[in-house]
Symmetry: C2
DNA sequence: GTCTATATTGTGATAGAC
DNA sequence: GTCTATCACAATATAGAC
């Protein structure tokens, strides 16, 4: 029904990812979305409401991801590492945008990110049994995501196949308790 | 000779860490340092020069850390994990401040951070032999640092002793090739 | 060396035309 | 629903007093 709303939200994500929170002004978002400042502020009465809409979108996408993680054929741990690569999915895009807001000092962004982060760790813990192993796996995934992310945002196309070797390391870690 | 310069730089780090790049205005830095806007802009002709000075400080401190890492009694890998805890050292403070600038979209901040990050990985690789193992160790350290960092910045005091269990996991990872 | 103006630009937000 | 003004305010930076 309101396709403009989605387009504006997409543009907000784009600008946040590409230029950071500082440059994600209403005017920049409007330009990216192909509307005017007034157009943006019609759909989102204030900049805060724009951010709120982004949080909602991100939480919904994260909930879907947790479902897929729980039912992954090769288990949550390998799923988590496999998907720690910024593939440009809707979740990736929303996640990056919210992370930028967090770094801008937004406390709501922090809460939302910690919420999903805690959920992911909980799923890993339930699946692996050992909390330390779960934390190690999660940290590797997070770090992997973080570096892959910046490579992508900075326009580099390297790091295509770094995953294979790390998955082998992961297998050694998670199989420790089953010897 | 110029103690004010250092005080202003310290204040810049503080404001960046506490409130993010968005709120690290010249006025905020001046207030934190106990001088006026004009006072700041006397020592650093522009905001860019202030950032440049921060990069220089950070690179010098990182170089010292790499030396300590190379000569650590328990080896670079365990040293890296042990020191991934935001202890409020001068390097920690500079690192956090530059990371905030990076998230603000500053490309020079990105270059500087990738420079030191690459050096750390190189040292781990030289020490451990296997690049995948080195990457896993580095990712765990980075992720650990990242989460510990936000706990600290948000005023929480949790996570005191999460290190022990993870070090055990690390030992298992790095001993894989010596069986 | 540090301050108090002040100039200039940016940004978020509002009001009203279309 | 979207645009074109326009306002109020905050930010960087400059000029000149002390």
């Amino acid at each position: 029904m309101s396709s403009s709303r989605q387009r504006i939200l997409d543009a907000y994500e784009d600008v946040l990812a590409a230029d950071g929170e500082r440059h994600a002004t209403v005017e920049a978002v409007a330009a990216k979305a192909g509307v005017s400042k007034g157009g943006v502020l019609y759909h989102f009465p204030s900049k805060d409401r724009l951010a709120e809409a982004l949080y909602d979108r991100m939480l919904a996408l994260a909930a879907q991801d947790v479902d897929q993680m729980r039912t992954a054929p090769d288990g949550p741990a390998r799923y988590y590492i496999r998907t720690s690569h910024y593939a440009g999915t809707p979740l990736d895009r929303a996640l990056v945008a919210v992370a930028r807001l967090r770094q801008g000092g937004d406390s709501r962004a922090r809460e939302v990110l910690e919420d999903v982060s805690g959920t992911w760790l909980r799923v890993l813990h339930e699946s692996l049994g050992d909390l330390d192993v779960a934390r190690a796996v999660k940290l590797i995934g997070d770090g992997l995501y973080y570096t892959a992310l910046h490579s992508t945002l900075d326009g580099r196309t390297e790091g295509e196949d770094d995953e294979a070797g790390l998955l082998a390391v992961i297998d050694r870690i998670i199989s420790v308790d089953s010897h």
